[in-house]
Symmetry: C2
Amino acid sequence: MSRPTVHDVARVANVSLSTVDRVLNGRDGVRAATQERVRAAMKQLGYERDLMAANLSRKRIYKIRFVIPDGPNSFMRNLAAELETQARIALRDRTEISVSLVPPFDGRALGAELRRTRETEADGVVMVATESAEVRQAVSELRAAGIQVVTLISDLSASARGHFVGIDNVSAGRTAAGLLGRFCAGRPGRIAIVAGSMLVRDHVERRLGFEQVMHSEFPELKLLPPIESGDEAARVDRLLTDQLREHPDIIGIYSLGGGNRGLRDALDRAGADPRPMVVVHELTDQSRVALQDGMFDAVLQQDIRKEVTSALVIIRNLIEAMPIDAETGRIHTEIFLRDNLP
Amino acid sequence: MSRPTVHDVARVANVSLSTVDRVLNGRDGVRAATQERVRAAMKQLGYERDLMAANLSRKRIYKIRFVIPDGPNSFMRNLAAELETQARIALRDRTEISVSLVPPFDGRALGAELRRTRETEADGVVMVATESAEVRQAVSELRAAGIQVVTLISDLSASARGHFVGIDNVSAGRTAAGLLGRFCAGRPGRIAIVAGSMLVRDHVERRLGFEQVMHSEFPELKLLPPIESGDEAARVDRLLTDQLREHPDIIGIYSLGGGNRGLRDALDRAGADPRPMVVVHELTDQSRVALQDGMFDAVLQQDIRKEVTSALVIIRNLIEAMPIDAETGRIHTEIFLRDNLP
DNA sequence: ATGAAAGCGCTAACAA
DNA sequence: TTGTTAGCGCTTTCAT
């Protein structure tokens, strides 16, 4: 037998199609008693609404707005590119994607942009959050206006966002330590840490996780205080070059932010032998080449495509008030070595 | 403006709906000239068929049959469980999944089962292949009967299968070597290899990749000949215990097949200190616990869920003669440490 | 508060 | 070879 339809439900409940529809979509104008009958019929038949037919009928088009930082690093540029690709594909699912770029690490700008999206009649907003009161406020307003909000990559604490899609950055840091610690085991020495900025939440979390594991499991490795590069390659190069000169016993480097190009340059310049073991974040053209060269040992990554598609699934479910599979938003930290590059 | 529909195309091309439909679906009975007009209209309008509406209309239900080995290891049991889950979900996409189990490593049995599926009026078959002439033959027959075939996890060389979904096992072996080699660097010693059977193709490929990298990049580590366990925990335990006793200088172990429970038992019994570094395949309850205990260092994995959903997407595209994104079938080898467990 | 009927974009008989 | 028409399962006016 094929799946039961609204017709079946209507027949069993002894009501018309419209009434079934009203119950189905939680519209009012149905007596409680009737509602019960309809619901009973649905349960009895195991009715499950056909979303495709529903969307076909109502000509529903989900309008989703992505608000992402206009960062200097190739990671964010990859995100933008991925969004362009997904925009094409999403059309088949009746989803219209628009993108707006905002200055990075700027809560005020992000908040303002979020307010502006209310005029675009979007059904939902997906954003890479920056921690800030303005942003939290703007999110509340969106929610109040019936616009769903999903945070991507970087979450917004204590906010009204409906869901977060991204990796667990503390565990990413721990993972980096697990790798680097094992890579360096047996050879006492120092570990350098290169971060973008300690004002950014994911970087803080990665550092936290990294230090947790380093201290508890590889106490013979001494951690240097993190270099803050603002994710700019040139600064990474300069600061790290200095540090390598000052500490010839650096045997491992963890770069938890952007600017990996500068990392390569610094290592090239230093030309140590054996070179330090290196673990970095985000698979970009730069880090891929460095992995193949043997200059980097491991790259931690979050699958941007998966993040985008998960965010779309989740925000559509949010919009439709459908249950959300917790698994969907949980992106795990992937590890790439030279030989399992995708 | 909203997307153009068949009506628009019909109007512009000055034909009826049916004619547009015929062209759209490559049915014959349309003059070449008319076809051209219709195609021109489609191009002009940028028409793209609405698959949901199409499926709604034709009440199309994709019947997909999965043929998988009834193996003794938890990996295959996980596969079966995942299929059960996906069966439920796939219904929403008008896809009906059925599963049939066959004896593992038995080409004859698999071939026979494939022949039998022709009677189930399936639209497509997804199978974990075993290399064998019977199987290749059966695949050809299915294709001839218009039934699409996709191989999953283990490919079938020189066959008519429409697509393969799974990881690159040579590169998985190389990846294992990259990890284990770095983990053991600096401490000369021996590496033990535990395999299921050298008659199985993915195991052979993993071993190949592993030895490639070990020889070229970590020549100071000596490889022992592989233990063949038939993926049975008890045999892994016994054989490995012997080997550990015979070679007290084993500092690393690569297990490329099943039976990881036996591996744990053997290590427990040996109780070496420091214990050898261990890299295994497939995230199961066993290997997960061992990772958390700190008994295993890394687990290589193929995402079964992703493999199943990719296989579904691909076989549906095959059935609909739609273009296939090469990326979809390429599953990459994931690496798990204790801290990035999903 | 409930129902009848007309679509949504596409397909599939059946006619012409 | 081409066209007409009646659905697919659901939503949405507009009546009642």
